[in-house]
């Protein structure tokens, strides 16, 4: 079994997969990658039948080596990556030879980059998942010196591939459906919320992302309840109004029960976009009916099938291309963030 060696860390790094669903009744949220689409795109690049445990890199990456030849995929927020000092493409697979050094710098767009070995990050899981759940002390941020065992590559003779990622790295529109507490907000309050422009606040983590907006949003219907609002089942995508009426979007490591009123829920399809919006980035909401939401939603199985159609072989050797980032590497495949 080969291993990925972490010589230096420059962002917040943790092992993430698609999480551990099915434990809501016992108070445990699913957790897993903040940008699930990045793991799906990595699976498409690596021709894996399902997403693999990967390293999630928030803000910036670090310096990596491999104990034996190792294919890996780089997806999510494009980060400045170099192999022994030469730039290598993002949204692509890469072969890391023993002795070579892969350096991953700061995100050029977005927030979260993902490094996925072709056999996934191996090692003991907990409740069926390898994902760190930092909020409750399962796993921990990766530190320099970490040696991460990697699963066997099912196709070590593979060649380099690229993917055209779905654009999501510079804020934008988040589609919102009503939730069980939407009616606690007066119609004019909901209209004002949908008309507002928000900026991602710096205070956010894997549990929740706060949004700075033009004013607080209040749930008048909750304030009028004589007995107070009872805590209710909450989940990723829910937009709750914290104490002062500040919209706070629950993310991968949210609690399972919460007492703040929720104005609605962001479609799971759009959570990667929010996760990738950098602090200060702009987001707005677009209301969909539940029927519209169900009609436009794509399951993760569908997303993986569709992502495979966006991959193609890398036809030039990047090590011979001095200004690699300026190239369109295969027909129809560009770096993917131009249209954001």
């Amino acid at each position: 079994m080969t291993a990925l060696i972490l010589d230096a860390v420059s962002g917040l790094l943790s092992v993430q997969d698609m999480g551990r669903p099915g434990h809501l009744a016992r108070g445990l949220s699913r957790g897993g990658a903040m940008d699930r689409l990045a793991l799906i795109e990595a699976a498409a690049l690596l021709a894996s039948p399902a997403p693999l445990p990967a390293i999630e890199m928030a803000g910036a990456g670090g310096r990596f080596r491999a104990g034996a030849p190792l294919w890996l995929a780089l997806t999510g927020a494009p980060m400045r990556a170099a192999l022994d000092g030469r730039p290598v493409p993002w949204n692509a697979t890469l072969r890391l030879e023993p002795g070579a050094v892969l350096t991953i710098g700061a995100a050029e767009q977005g927030m979260l980059g993902y490094l996925t070995p072709a056999g996934g990050i191996a090692g003991p899981g907990w409740l069926g998942s390898r994902a760190a759940h930092l909020n409750i002390g399962i796993g921990a941020p990766l530190a320099a010196g970490a040696v991460l065992p990697c699963g066997p590559d099912p196709a070590p003779q593979r060649g380099p591939r690229l993917i055209r990622p779905l654009p999501r790295f510079a804020g934008g529109t988040l589609r919102l459906i009503d939730g069980p507490q939407t009616d606690l907000f007066a119609p004019e309050e909901r209209a004002a919320f949908l008309a507002a422009t928000f900026h991602r606040a710096p205070r956010s983590n894997r549990q929740a992302i706060a949004l700075d907006g033009p004013r607080p949003f209040r749930a008048e219907g909750a304030r009028q309840l004589a007995g107070g609002l009872a805590s209710d089942v909450i989940g990723p995508g829910d937009v709750q109004m914290a104490g002062e009426g500040v919209p706070t979007v629950l993310m991968a490591e949210c609690q399972t029960i919460g007492g703040y009123p929720r104005i609605g829920t962001i479609l799971p399809d759009d959570l990667p976009r929010l996760a990738q919006t950098p602090p200060g980035g702009t987001v707005r909401f677009q209301h969909l009916t539940l029927a519209e939401g169900r009609a436009v939603h794509r399951s993760e199985e569908t997303l993986l099938r569709e992502a495979r159609t966006r991959t193609g072989p890398l036809i030039r050797d990047p090590s011979t291309m001095p200004d690699l980032l300026a190239y369109s590497l295969i027909s129809g495949v560009v770096r993917g963030n131009e249209a954001d």
Partner: protein
């Protein structure tokens, strides 16, 4: 029993994301709604609707997650509404699957709020302990942290408000009360509830075969033990704190 002056509860079936339906009996923590959730969650666990993936009760609502490929939400809604109405009228006591006994030290350093609360209620501390330990509690919901139970309901006199100011920290195992409920903290936490006791049982222990042993609907009794017994139980390696669990045959 005197006729209830409060308005009748009317359950609602509400969308919860694209793959969830929430059955809500009340917006506020109404004891009748809490009892109905207990019955509904037991019914859904015993006879899961076709296509259901997950059942998660909160205090006055219960989430059912479904697989959209295996069922139509419209069909589920009708089924859930019928079950919710039955859960509301059915006054029969539940037969819990499991009965837990959790050793607890009350008062003194283990429960600094026990005496003031007892005084406020016109009871001696021993009488207050007897009321807590004489109540058949149920795990109403698990939340705030993995495994961490909301237990209830205590007698009416225990309808204590939350404190106006947060207590900066209570220790792991703290037994706190408010609103006729008990919460057992798994980790040191700030709280607006009042600490009456402490136990060595840890509701979340990642390395244990059952990291989160309590489940909604479990029956719970607290039994009083001296504080030094809790200290001894805390030395055990499994975090079970002397808890015993009885599953009826």
């Amino acid at each position: 029993m005197a006729p209830d002056a409060r308005p009748e509860l009317s359950p609602e079936i509400l969308p919860h994301g694209l793959d969830g339906l929430l059955v809500r009996f009340s917006l506020s923590p109404d004891p009748r709604a809490m009892a109905a959730v207990q019955r509904l969650a037991a019914d859904l666990s015993d006879r899961p609707p076709e296509g259901s993936v997950e059942i998660a009760p909160a205090l006055v609502s219960c989430l059912l997650r479904f697989d959209p490929a295996r069922t139509r939400p419209e069909a589920l809604e009708a089924d859930l509404l019928a079950r919710a109405r039955a859960a509301l009228v059915d006054g029969a006591p539940l037969a819990p699957r499991r009965r837990w006994t959790l050793p607890t030290a009350f008062g003194g350093a283990a429960g600094p709020e026990l005496e003031p609360i007892a005084r406020q209620m016109g009871l001696t501390p021993d009488q207050a302990i007897a009321q807590i330990c004489g109540t058949d509690l149920a795990v109403l919901a698990i939340g705030f942290a993995p495994g961490q139970p909301y237990l209830g309901l205590l007698p009416e006199g225990w309808n204590l408000p939350r404190l106006p100011d947060l207590v900066p920290e209570v220790p792991a195992g703290a037994v706190v009360v408010a609103l006729r409920q008990i919460v057992i903290f798994g980790n040191p936490s700030p709280t607006g509830w009042r600490q009456v006791g402490r136990m060595a049982f840890r509701s979340f222990w990642p390395d244990r075969a059952e990291p989160m042993p309590l489940a909604p609907g479990d029956a719970i009794r607290l039994v009083p033990v001296p504080a030094d017994r809790i200290a001894a139980l805390e030395a055990e390696p499994d975090g079970m704190g002397g808890a015993t669990c009885e599953a009826p045959a």
